[in-house]
């Protein structure tokens, strides 16, 4: 693809290094002008439009499709069905690794969930394909749908999340609870939620012989490439995927899903390029969601308010045909210093698309329950919720006993509480009112998310003109990778950011790993850092080994790279530019590769997590039960902050999602049919601007020498944790009503006057 013209706005004044600067996003002007090309903006010559027909039942079998009627419709080119489709090279039911999910690609007439794709209509226009899909008029053999957390017999899944054991024990929980002076035993419910990225899943696929070209938003270019290669039986080098911009992913674009595969199959079937874009309601099924949970927390505390035991059990659901289990109870592993902790999960199978990672999977659902329960326990002990949390502050990771690689949570509590004015809080609920008579409540929650690292590689080069190149197949989901990773790249090669051609977003670049787990900046950043160091080392070799260079004899360790020059460390007046070194050596460029990866030794020794503290104020109408969040303060410690401006936006987004979790978001499933009744952005409520209060984010300084070379922990997901609980706790503090089913609804607050 053509090199992106990322602008250099005048605001990009640089003082010192690039890392740490609050640069505005370099792709911002492209996006504002509508020049950022998202997948569905591509229209290769001869392209056809594909529209999926999806099942309106949640369980059963398709018994007939009126393919002839669809084909007769003007403009319809072909209809792909289970009996008329290109063959795949492997059975899509086979899981070749844990990151492969079973997908629905017309392999049979079985219907597993509502919105299961049952046919694809391919036409000259979107309108013709849409009407063709309607004309299929499917008939079904309907079986009773399995719906909800009590749909069937529960079982203990082999693992939850990605490879976590379903149960964890540390100490004797029953003894701890039995010895407690105060006990809490409470059940919390969270609903199914859908990622609802602004940009729907889309694909434009073109075959040229056995070569495949794909425009598709993905959070995992190389994983998608590998999956496509496997499904279609072609080698990696035959596939080119472009994903320069994503309109949000939140986990739903992490894995290759059925609909994108259907787009590639459709292009193969008709021998022309095909575009397939999901309708909003079609995103409620085949592309993942956050599973509902029912969580029981039993907590004990002694007379001083110290935890004696913590038992966190989570029930969740998975699909009838694949396994993903929301690891909600695992949220209790790291935060509070209970001497005995048990976490456990069980699940039932329901007729749903397979659940998936959704922003802070496990942490978000678990956090709202845990933070609510901790709040309930603080109240039971008659202790301020912040004081209670400090009393039970974990100096080592409770579930493992490992020290933390760094943990500035105390500073988060202090700075957040000071900014919020927490000290003025009444201990009792329903004590505070504003001038208009509205109930006022203050609540808090602790935020946490693991500092993860995946595998990545980057390629760096210094060119004859002294400029740099950094290539990595990284993903910008809107979080700002085009900017933050370019900042890391610029420092890595000792150049100003505008002197480095930063290339990302395509599958022909080195593997950046998945943009997930809040680990992308850390992982890709580490690879970039290491590639930069390697190319500078090569350049230094050229210079220090050449007697014509002022750096001759300085040795690698004695040279530093800055502003496009290598300088002697012990005498910075002696140095020369990259261009001079390459010119003398007669080279067009030097290049090197570097990798980023987790450090198993450090992981063995340390628990690695980002932390934070979120404080929320709500107002509640005492008669009408309507809730409004009026203030939120979040203080987060997440290691090194590469770009404070973008990090703040990430944390704002997470906090808003936490507010949404507590008060708005819920997919409403018809209990009889398993159909989702609010599969649109009008009725699936997320906060609008008018629901979002002034947000205040503090990034607390934290140096972590262990997580990775750059000390980055990641900020993508932590903002939602803590925030949801803080809002829920504030509602309790305002009203005295403890709502344990989320989102909190008006009717639950109507009980009092």
């Amino acid at each position: 693809m053509p090199e992106l013209n990322l602008t250099s706005a005048p605001a990009h004044l640089r003082h010192g290094s690039n890392i740490g600067q609050p640069l505005t996003r370099r792709d911002g002007i492209l996006k504002v002008k509508g020049q950022a090309t998202y997948a569905a903006d591509n229209h290769p010559p001869g392209m056809l439009f594909a529209v999926m027909a999806v099942a309106s039942i949640a369980r059963g079998r398709v018994t007939s499709l009126d393919v002839d009627a669809a084909k007769r419709h003007p403009g319809v080119v072909d209809v792909m069905t289970p009996s008329h489709k290109p063959q795949l090279a492997v059975d899509p039911e086979i899981k070749t690794n844990p990151f492969v999910f079973r997908m629905e690609v017309l392999q049979s007439d079985e219907v597993r969930y509502a919105n299961h794709p049952i046919a694809v209509v391919i036409a000259e226009t979107l309108e013709a394909a849409t009407e063709g899909a309607a004309l299929l008029a499917p008939r079904y053999e309907v079986l009773p749908a399995l719906v909800g957390l009590d749909a069937g017999e529960s079982f203990v899944p082999p693992v939850v999340g990605v490879g976590n054991p379903a149960e964890h024990h540390h100490g004797d929980v029953e003894a701890g609870l039995a010895s407690a002076e105060k006990q809490i035993d409470a059940v919390y419910e969270t609903p199914p939620q859908y990622h609802n990225a602004m940009e729907p899943h889309a694909i434009v696929a073109s075959w040229d012989g056995d070569r495949l070209s794909v425009d598709m938003p993905t959070q995992g270019l190389m994983m998608s490439l590998a999956r496509i290669a496997e499904l279609f039986g072609i080698t990696h080098d035959k596939i080119h995927i472009r994903s320069p911009f994503l309109g949000g992913g939140f986990g739903s674009k992490g894995l290759m899903a059925g609909p994108q595969t259907l787009g590639i199959m459709a292009a193969k079937l008709v021998g022309r390029p095909v575009k397939l874009v999901l309708r909003r309601e079609q995103m409620y099924g085949p592309v993942g969601h956050r599973a509902p949970t029912r969580q029981r927390l039993r907590i004990g505390a002694d007379g001083e308010g110290r935890l004696t035991g913590l038992d966190h059990h989570a029930r969740t659901v998975s699909s009838t045909f694949d396994d993903f289990y929301e690891p909600a109870a695992d949220a209790s592993h790291t935060l509070y210093a209970a001497p005995a902790i048990r976490t456990a999960h069980d699940a039932v199978r329901v007729n749903t698309g397979t659940p998936l990672f959704m922003r802070a999977p496990g942490e978000a659902t678990g956090s709202i329950a845990l933070e609510s329960a901790i709040d309930e326990m603080a109240w039971a002990c008659g202790i301020d919720p912040l004081a209670f949390r400090l009393k039970n502050y974990a100096e080592v990771e409770p579930i493992t006993g490992k020290p933390f690689s760094s943990k500035a949570l105390r500073a988060c509590y202090e700075q957040g509480a000071a900014r919020f004015g927490w000290a003025q809080r009444a201990l009792q609920p329903r004590q505070m009112r504003d001038d208009a008579g509205l109930l006022v409540g203050w609540g808090m929650g602790t935020a946490t998310f693991p500092a993860l690292m995946f595998q990545a590689e980057a390629r760096a080069a210094i060119r004859r003109d002294g400029s740099g190149v950094m290539e990595i197949g990284a993903h910008d989901m809107g979080q700002g990778a085009w900017t933050a990773l370019a900042q890391i790249a610029a420092d890595a090669v000792g150049l100003d950011i505008d002197r480095v051609a930063f290339k990302a977003g395509t599958s022909d670049l080195p593997d950046a790993g998945i943009a997930g787990g809040s680990a992308h900046t850390a992982t890709a950043g580490a690879a970039i850092h290491s590639a930069g160091a390697a190319v500078i080392a090569k350049l230094a070799d050229l210079a220090t080994g050449d007697e014509r260079s002022p750096l001759f004899g300085a040795g690698n360790a004695g040279v530093i790279a800055r502003d496009g020059r290598l300088l002697r460390r012990d005498d910075e007046s002696r140095g020369e530019s990259y261009a001079e070194i390459l010119a003398r050596a007669g080279l067009a460029e030097v290049e090197a590769r570097g990798t980023g990866a987790p450090n198993p030794a450090a992981m063995q020794e340390y628990a690695m997590h980002a932390h934070g503290a979120v404080f929320a104020e709500v107002k509640v109408d005492p008669e009408l039960g309507q809730v409004r969040v009026t203030r939120m303060v979040g203080a987060f410690a997440a290691g090194r902050i590469v770009n404070p401006h973008l990090v703040k936006s990430q944390l704002f987004g997470g906090m808003i999602w936490g507010l949404s979790f507590a008060l708005h978001e819920e997919a409403i499933t018809d209990r009889r049919t398993g159909r989702i009744m609010n599969a649109n952005l009008g009725e699936y409520h997320i906060p609008v601007n008018a629901d979002v209060p002034p947000l205040d984010v503090i990034t607390v300084e934290e140096h972590d020498p262990h997580v990775n070379a750059l000390g980055i922990k990641g900020v993508g997901e932590i903002g939602i944790t803590g925030s949801a609980g803080a809002v829920a706790n504030a509602v309790w503090h305002a009203t005295g009503v403890r709502v344990r089913r989320f989102p909190i609804r008006i009717e639950e607050l109507l009980t009092q006057r």
């Binding site: 009407e131 109408d621 708005h664 499933t669 209990r671 159909r675 009744m677 906060p687 008006i746």
Partner: protein
């Protein structure tokens, strides 16, 4: 998408003739209709685009003291018309509490009156719905029906009318001017929408070809300007339909209510005029007790149609609050968060 004819008549008479054909529907802004068509809920054969008809986009203040609002006036233009908002503040507040700014810029007065229910089972073509397909059954009745009707519903249909705008209009005795095959006629807005009974597919008193050309507020409607509010409880502050809403308008003289108007939204298949509540408010002081009594009266006939018993108690409380706010006096400016219980949060940006 199903192919359809598109006609753009030059006159009202041509429009009426074009729309009188079976399968024809009017298209104004299309903020509801186009969604219905995309979802396969509505599959018309012919769209009669009325947006180019002359003379339907005026707000006229008539000599007798009434105001006549052309059917093509946008929701936003009407709400932001200073004279109109001053004279009919509850109507302006209701308009600004509806939909989103983008939708209000497009949506028309006539279209607002005729918007369809937001019952999820009506929109979901895989579900049975007597409104969408007469006699097919009602899947909402035993379904997810927390937001459904508590007044005037039947076993055939428990859907609600979603309009905010219509609620104060019906309280103020708005009149609908209709052009039809037999010429012009007018009916009270209260008679435009029908309760479901056993024919929920018939939603209004309109006949094929009937075109709403204007809505008129009679001279007496101005008399409530000093004490008129709209209050809407909803699940987020904007772009959400009412769980329950109420329009309250009072004419207060010498410390006594001379005349009260009250209507509820989100509770029935039509904007619900609560006349029995109005009756108990005539010639009484605007006290909490009087408002409580009115609230009880307004909901006397209410009964849950599903998981929505809370709406009855909520409606009572909203009636009391709306009357209390109205008695306190119309604010000089439309509130920053129109119709919200949090209308006057300091620092909020005015609508």
């Amino acid at each position: 998408m199903k192919p359809f004819d598109y006609v753009r008549p030059g006159t009202v008479a041509e429009a009426v003739a074009a729309a009188a054909q079976p399968g024809a529907v009017y298209l104004a802004a299309g903020t509801n209709l186009l969604d219905l068509m995309k979802g396969g809920v509505s599959r018309p054969d012919r769209l009669v685009d009325v947006t180019h008809l002359d003379g339907l986009d005026q707000i006229e203040h008539l000599a007798d003291g009434s105001v006549r609002i052309g059917a093509l006036v946008s929701n936003a233009d009407l709400a932001h018309d200073a004279d109109f908002a001053r004279s009919y503040p509850a109507v302006a507040e209701a308009l600004l509490s509806g939909a989103s700014a983008q939708l209000r810029n497009a949506a028309t007065v006539g279209g607002n009156l005729l918007q369809r229910t937001r019952c999820a089972y009506f929109y979901d073509t895989a579900s049975r719905c007597n409104k969408r397909e007469a006699g097919s059954g009602c899947d909402a009745r035993e379904g997810e029906n927390r937001s459904h009707a508590v007044l005037g519903w039947s076993d055939s249909c428990i859907a609600t009318h979603p309009s905010d705008f219509c609620v104060p209009l019906v309280a103020l005795d708005a009149i609908v001017e209709i052009e039809g095959r037999n010429g012009r006629r007018e009916i009270p807005l209260d008679a435009l929408h029908r309760l479901p009974g056993d024919a929920p597919e018939r939603e209004s008193a309109l006949e094929p070809g009937d075109l709403i050309v204007a809505v008129r507020l009679p001279p007496a409607a101005r008399g409530f300007a000093a004490h008129a509010r709209y209050l809407k409880v909803r699940e987020r502050t904007s772009y959400a339909f009412a769980v329950v809403s109420a329009a309250a308008a009072l004419r207060i003289e010498n410390g006594k209510i001379r005349e009260a108007r009250l209507a509820l939204g989100g509770v029935a298949a039509k904007p619900w005029r609560a006349r029995s509540a109005e009756d108990v408010l005539g010639n009484v002081a605007p006290t909490a007790d009087a408002f409580q009594e009115a609230a009880l009266r307004a909901l006397t006939d209410a009964k849950p149609s599903g998981d929505n018993a809370f709406k009855i108690e909520l409606a009572r409380r909203i009636v009391v609050r709306a009357l209390t706010l109205a008695a306190a006096g119309t604010p000089a400016r439309l509130p920053a968060l129109p119709a919200s219980p949090f209308a006057s949060i300091p620092g909020a940006i005015h609508a």
